[in-house]
C-alpha cells in the first residue's frame, strides 16, 4: 500500500468529474480503496472507489468497453493500464483532480505486437518501470514527462525466453531493498510453463544483477513457482507464488532472501497433499489438485490462496495463513463467509487487514479480514468482480 497526504476528495468532485453515478453522497477520504472491476461476461470494465472502513462504494468510473485493464498506484497517482491489444497508460492525479486523467500515453511500439503491460512500478517521481508480458524488455520511463520524452530506456530480458517462445512472459514485479524483482513465467511456444525465474534489477543503475556469480547462465533466480503469478515483499524476503499448470503441477510458494538471493521453498505439490483427490482409474479429468494461486503479507502473517481445481474447473478456494517467522506452520482460514467460495483477488490493506475478493459473478463481494483471519465489518458489495485493488491515503 502506498501512502501520501493528499488533498481532500469528495464525492462531489468525483461525480463532477465522472458524471452519472449519484448513488453515493458521502466523501471519500482517509484510506481509500480503488478497485478495478471487470464484467463477468468480459464485455466491459470500470473502476470503483470507497473509503476503507465504510461499505459505500462509488462505481462507474473509467468505464471501458474492454475488460483487460489493471491498476497501479504510486503516491497520489493512479495508473489505469490497458493490457493486451489496448496498450495504454492513463494517469490520474489525486492531488489535482482525482480520476480526471492527467494523460493517456500509448504503450505500443511501432511495427510491433501488443506490449500487454501487466504492471507499472513507479520508484520515483520521474522514474518507473513498465512490466510488459508481451515484450522481452522492461521499459524505463519518466512518468512526469510528456509522451515524447516518456521512455528513458529499456532493460533487456530476452535471455529468459523459453525455447520456441517469443517473450519471457514477465508477469509480476515488486520493489525491495532498492531493487526491482521481476517474475518471468517463461511459458513455451505452447504456453506450457518451464522453469520460472526472478530477474533482479538494480534501480540505481538499471542493470540486471547477477544473483549467482558462481554459475554461468542466466543472472536471475530460478524458483520452484512454475507459472509465476505473484511477487510480494517484506523487509527481508521476496515471496513468489506460481500456480503450476492445469493438471497435477500444483505450483509452489518460495521466498527469496534479500541478503543472498537464496530460495526457500515454502509450499510445493506435497505440502497439502490431503487436499488432492486422485482417483484410481486412468481418467485424469476427474482428479482434483490444489494450486498455489496468490500470496499476501499482513504485518507478520502470510496468507496464501489455494484453488482446488479439477481440470479447468475451479471447485473452491482455501485460504491458509502462516507466521512469517515460522513458515512451515499453516493454519486454515475459513470464516463462514468464505466457506466453499472461490476467491479472486487477495490483497493486503491498511491497518493490517487482508482484502479477499469472492470470485462469484452473482455476488462479487470483498471480505476484509484481520491478521487472525477474522472478518472485519460487513462485506463490500461490488456490482462486478474485482480483479485488482489498490489503496491510497487521502487526507482532509
Amino acid at each position: 500500500m502506498k501512502k501520501l497526504a493528499l488533498t481532500a476528495l469528495s464525492t462531489a468532485l468525483l461525480t463532477g468529474c465522472f458524471g452519472d453515478d449519484s448513488s453515493n453522497s458521502s466523501s471519500v477520504s482517509g484510506h481509500t480503496f480503488i478497485a478495478q472491476m471487470r464484467a463477468a461476461d468480459y464485455s466491459s470494465s470500470e473502476i470503483a472507489v470507497g473509503t476503507v472502513g465504510e461499505t459505500e462504494i462509488v462505481e462507474n468510473y473509467a468505464n471501458k468497453d474492454a475488460s483487460d485493464y489493471t491498476i497501479d498506484v504510486y503516491e497520489q497517482y493512479l495508473y489505469h493500464i490497458g493490457k493486451f491489444n489496448i496498450d495504454t497508460l492513463t494517469r490520474y492525479d489525486a492531488a489535482a483532480e482525482f480520476l480526471q486523467a492527467d494523460y493517456t500515453y500509448s504503450l505500443t511500439e511501432p511495427e510491433s505486437s501488443s506490449s500487454n503491460t501487466y504492471q507499472f512500478v513507479q520508484v520515483a517521481e520521474d522514474k518507473a518501470y513498465v512490466i510488459r508480458y508481451g515484450k522481452s524488455s522492461i521499459l524505463v520511463v519518466d512518468p512526469s514527462a510528456d509522451e515524447e520524452n516518456f521512455v528513458l530506456g529499456e532493460i533487456g530480458l530476452a535471455a529468459y525466453v523459453a525455447e520456441g517462445a517469443t517473450y519471457p512472459r514477465m508477469s509480476a514485479a515488486v520493489v525491495a531493498d532498492d531493487k526491482l524483482f521481476v517474475g518471468l513465467q517463461r511459458l513455451d511456444a505452447d504456453y506450457q510453463p518451464t522453469q520460472s525465474y526472478v530477474a533482479v534489477i538494480d534501480i540505481e543503475s538499471d542493470n540486471e544483477i547477477d544473483t549467482n556469480t558462481n554459475e554461468t547462465g542466466l543472472k536471475g533466480i530460478p524458483v520452484n513457482a512454475d507459472n509465476l503469478f505473484k511477487l510480494v515483499a517484506d523487509d527481508d524476503y521476496v515471496y513468489v507464488s506460481g500456480r503450476g499448470d492445469y493438471s497435477n503441477n500444483s505450483g509452489a510458494l518460495d521466498r527469496i532472501s534479500l541478503d543472498d538471493y537464496a530460495v526457500t521453498n515454502l509450499v510445493n505439490g506435497t505440502t497439502f497433499s490431503d487436499l488432492n483427490d486422485i482417483s484410481d482409474d486412468e481418467d485424469t479429468s476427474n482428479d482434483t489438485y490444489y494450486h498455489v494461486m496468490s500470496i499476501a503479507l499482513v504485518d507478520d502473517t502470510g496468507f496464501i490462496k489455494l484453488n482446488l481445481e479439477q481440470g479447468y474447473t475451479n471447485l473452491r478456494s482455501i485460504l491458509y495463513s502462516f507466521p512469517l517467522d515460522d513458515v512451515a506452520s499453516f493454519t486454515a482460514v475459513n470464516p463462514d463467509v468464505l466457506k466453499d467460495e472461490k476467491i479472486g483477488i487477495l490483497k493486503s490493506g491498511p491497518d493490517n487487514t487482508l482484502w479477499v475478493g469472492i470470485d462469484n459473478a452473482e455476488a462479487p463481494d470483498i471480505v476484509v479480514l484481520n491478521e487472525e483471519g477474522e472478518v472485519q465489518g460487513e462485506a463490500l458489495k461490488f456490482s462486478m468482480p474485482v480483479i485488482d485493488l489498490e489503496f491510497m491515503e487521502i487526507r482532509d
Partner: protein, 651 residues
C-alpha cells in the same frame, strides 16, 4: 438518450383511424385473409414478404430490405463478409431462425447464420414472420423467422453487375438450360478499404488515426443448379468465400489472418403445398457440408499461429401432411435434423490434446433434433379465423475429444414442448391478429461444449425459452396502410458467457428478461400528374428489464438492440424512374449486459435511384450518405458512406 418524440405520440396520432375502424361493421361477404400489396411489400398481420425482383431493384440487398422494416434491426458492422444478423422485435440475432427453402441454416455449432450469404439476385421471395401467428414452421423461434426462397425455373435469363466504393464489384448470371434445369452463378468482391480509426497504428501514427484497413478483402463465389420436375424442386448449391480478418487494433500490414468457407448443399422438396381441398403431403430433404478454416500465420490476431479447421455436416428430412376440408385445415409434421461438427487445430499440440485452459480443443460433436408438430386452422365464420399448433422438440447432443488422453465423451438430451395460437379477424379494410406462442432456442454446440476460443463446455446448459403475446392490427385502403403491433415477451434462462477470475469462461443460464414493445407504421401512396409519392413513417419502442442472478446485470436493459427506432421514407416514382430517400434514427442501445457501455445514436440517410426498363434496369444507391460512423452493435464504427451502381439485363 431521449428522443424529442416517442412512439406514444405516433400511437395517439393513429388512434382516430383505429377508432374508426373498430366502429365499422364487418361485411359478411368477406371470405379470406386479404393480402393487400402496398408499397411493393406483401403484408399480412405479423408476416411480411417481398418478391425477389423487387428486392433486387429497390433494395439491392436483403439487409437493406430488412432494415427498412419496422421491428427489424440488421446487425452488421464492418464490410462485406462480416456476418449479417437480424434482430426481430428486440430479440437477439441468435434468437432469430433463418431458413433457405424451409431448411434451417443456423448452424448447430455456433447457432449463427449470415443473411448476406444468399446473393440478392438468387432470391425468389423472402418471408419474415415476427408475430408467430402463422403456425408450424415459423413459430418456434423466440424472435422471428426469415425464410429465403431461392430461384427455381426462370422466366428470363439475366446478367447483373455492380460496382461500389471501398473496392466493391460483383457480377452474376442466371438462366435456363432447358425446361427443367436452371442455373445461377455469381461472384462478389470487396477490398473493404474504408477508413477506420485504428487505436494503435502499426506505423506509430497517433492513436485513432483513420486508416484504410489492411487485409480486409473479401470474396464470395456462388453457384446453383436447380431442377424442376412436376412439383418436385431440387437445388444443388455451392459457395466458396474468404474473409480476410483485419487487425483492428494495430492495422498491421504483416497480418494475413483469414477465414474461409466452402459449402455445398443439396435440397429437394415438394414443399409448395397447395391450399386446395384434400390431403397434401409436402416433404423436403436436405444435406449440406461446410468446411471452414481460420488461419493466422503471423499470429497477428490471437496469441498463436493458428491453422484451425472446422467441418460441419447437416442433414434434414421433413414431412408435413395436411388435410384441407372446408373451414378446417389439419396440419401435422415431423422434422428430423442431424448435425455433426469436427474441429482440428493443426498448429497447436495443446489444443489437439485438450491440455489448454482455452476451449479450443480437437473435438467432434453431434446433435440430433426431432420436431413433432400438430395443428389446425379453422375459419369460425367469414371474418374470423383461428389457428393453433403444438410442437414437441426433443434433442440429443454428444461430444468427444478426438485426441486427448482422457477422451471424455459427454452426452445430454432434453426436450421442450411449445405451442402457438392465434385469432385473426379480417375485414375489407382491416386485419387483426391476437397471437401467443411458447418458443425455444436450443443451445448451440459451441455454447454447450466450447471450442474456437476461450470458452469451456457446460453440460448443464439448458435451452432458452420464451412466452410471447402480440396483437397485430393492419388497416388498409387503396392508398394507405397503417400497422400497429403491441407485444410482450418473457424470456427465461438466457445463455450468457461468464468468466471466472482466471479468465476461464463458460456459457450459463443466468438471466431472464421481460420486454414489451410497440411498433407502428404508416404508408401512403398519392398520385399527382403521373408522379407517385409514397411517404412512410414507422416507429418501434421497446422497454426491457433483465432479471439476473448476476448482480451487475440485474434490473438492466437487454443489451444489443436499439430500444427506440424511427424510420422515415419518401419514394417518388415517375414512369420508369424512382427515387427513394430513407432516414433511420435509433438509440437507447447498450452494448453490454451491465449497461456500462452505451452505443451511439444511429443516424443514417440512404438515397436510391432506380430506372426500370423492360429488358434492363439500373440502380444507384448511397447508403449512409452523411458518412456517419456511429459505433454499432459490435462496438466498432460502421463503414460509413457506401455507394453502389448496379444494373441488370434480361433476355
Amino acid at each position: 438518450m431521449t428522443f424529442t418524440f416517442r412512439t406514444a405520440f405516433l400511437i395517439s396520432a393513429l388512434s382516430p383511424a383505429i377508432a374508426l375502424a373498430n366502429g365499422e361493421t364487418v361485411p359478411d361477404a368477406l371470405t379470406l385473409p386479404t393480402v393487400v400489396e402496398t408499397a411493393q411489400r406483401v403484408t399480412t398481420a405479423g408476416l411480411t414478404s417481398i418478391d425477389g425482383e423487387e428486392l433486387q431493384s429497390r433494395y439491392g440487398s436483403l439487409q437493406n430490405y430488412l432494415k427498412s422494416l419496422t421491428g427489424m434491426q440488421v446487425q452488421h458492422s464492418g464490410g462485406l463478409g462480416d456476418p449479417v444478423l437480424l434482430s426481430v422485435r428486440g430479440a437477439s440475432g441468435r434468437q432469430t431462425t433463418v431458413l433457405v427453402n424451409g431448411i434451417r441454416i443456423n448452424d448447430a455449432q455456433g447457432g449463427g447464420y449470415d443473411l448476406s450469404q444468399i446473393p440478392v439476385d438468387m432470391i425468389e421471395r423472402v418471408e419474415i414472420s415476427s408475430s408467430g401467428s402463422h403456425g408450424g414452421l415459423y413459430d418456434s423461434a423466440i424472435g422471428g423467422t426469415v425464410n429465403i426462397i431461392t430461384r427455381e425455373q426462370e422466366y428470363q435469363n439475366q446478367l447483373a453487375a455492380a460496382v461500389g466504393n471501398h473496392g466493391y464489384k460483383s457480377a452474376s448470371a442466371r438462366g435456363n438450360i432447358n425446361n427443367y434445369l436452371s442455373v445461377y452463378a455469381g461472384s462478389e468482391y470487396s477490398e473493404n478499404s474504408f477508413d477506420y480509426p485504428v487505436p494503435a497504428p502499426w506505423n506509430g501514427d497517433a492513436r485513432n488515426s483513420e486508416e484504410a484497413l489492411n487485409n480486409a478483402e473479401f470474396f464470395r463465389h456462388t453457384a446453383q443448379l436447380a431442377a424442376t420436375t412436376g412439383t418436385v424442386v431440387s437445388q444443388l448449391s455451392w459457395q466458396h468465400q474468404r474473409k480476410n480478418i483485419p487487425d483492428y487494433f494495430r492495422n498491421s500490414p504483416e497480418n494475413k489472418a483469414h477465414y474461409s468457407t466452402r459449402e455445398i448443399r443439396f435440397t429437394t422438396s415438394n414443399s409448395n403445398a397447395s391450399a386446395s381441398e384434400g390431403f397434401h403431403l409436402p416433404w423436403s430433404f436436405a444435406v449440406s457440408r461446410k468446411n471452414e478454416s481460420y488461419r493466422d500465420p503471423e499470429s497477428n490476431i490471437g496469441l498463436g499461429e493458428d491453422d484451425n479447421r472446422y467441418r460441419l455436416r447437416h442433414a434434414e428430412i421433413a414431412t408435413s401432411p395436411q388435410l384441407h376440408s372446408g373451414k378446417l385445415v389439419l396440419r401435422s409434421g415431423i422434422r428430423a435434423e442431424f448435425d455433426e461438427y469436427q474441429s482440428r487445430y493443426v498448429n497447436d499440440t495443446d489444443s489437439r490434446d485438450c491440455t489448454t485452459p482455452q476451449g479450443s480443443c480437437d473435438q467432434s460433436a453431434k446433435q440430433q433434433v426431432i420436431n413433432l408438430t400438430a395443428g389446425a386452422d379453422y375459419r369460425i365464420s367469414p371474418p374470423w379465423k383461428t389457428s393453433a399448433s403444438i410442437y414437441h422438440r426433443g434433442y440429443r447432443t454428444s461430444n468427444e475429444r478426438t485426441h486427448a488422453d482422457d477422451a471424455a465423451r459427454t452426452e445430454s438430451k432434453d426436450s421442450f414442448t411449445g405451442a402457438s395460437a392465434s385469432f385473426t379477424h379480417v375485414s375489407l379494410f382491416s386485419e387483426t391478429a391476437l397471437s401467443a406462442r411458447r418458443s425455444v432456442r436450443i443451445p448451440s454446440l459451441y455454447e454447450r461444449y466450447g471450442d474456437r476460443g476461450l470458452m469451456l463446455g457446460n453440460d448443464d446448459l439448458s435451452a432458452e425459452t420464451s412466452d410471447n403475446l402480440s396483437i397485430d392490427v393492419r388497416l388498409f385502403s387503396q392508398q394507405s396502410e397503417a400497422t400497429l403491433s403491441v407485444f410482450s415477451r418473457k424470456t427465461k434462462d438466457t445463455i450468457v458467457p461468464i468468466y471466472d477470475s482466471r479468465g476461464i469462461g463458460r456459457y450459463i443460464n443466468v438471466s431472464d428478461s421481460i420486454m414489451q414493445g410497440v411498433e407502428v407504421e404508416l404508408i401512403h401512396t398519392e398520385k399527382l400528374k403521373g408522379i407517385t409519392l409514397e411517404p412512410t413513417i414507422s416507429a418501434a419502442s421497446y422497454t426491457s428489464e433483465l432479471i439476473s442472478d448476476v448482480r451487475a446485470f440485474e434490473g438492466k436493459q437487454v443489451p444489443g438492440i436499439y430500444h427506440d427506432r424511427y424510420l422515415f421514407g419518401l419514394t417518388t416514382s415517375y414512369q420508369q424512374h424512382s427515387l427513394s430517400l430513407d432516414y433511420e434514427l435509433a438509440g437507447n442501445l447498450y452494448l453490454d449486459s451491465g449497461n456500462n457501455i452505451e452505443g451511439d445514436i444511429r443516424r443514417s440517410l440512404d438515397l436510391t435511384y432506380q430506372l426500370e426498363q423492360n429488358r434492363w434496369g439500373l440502380r444507384v444507391a448511397a447508403n449512409n450518405l452523411t458518412n456517419n460512423q456511429f459505433r454499432d452493435y459490435s462496438n466498432r464504427p460502421v463503414a460509413g458512406r457506401q455507394i453502389y451502381l448496379s444494373g441488370h439485363l434480361n433476355f
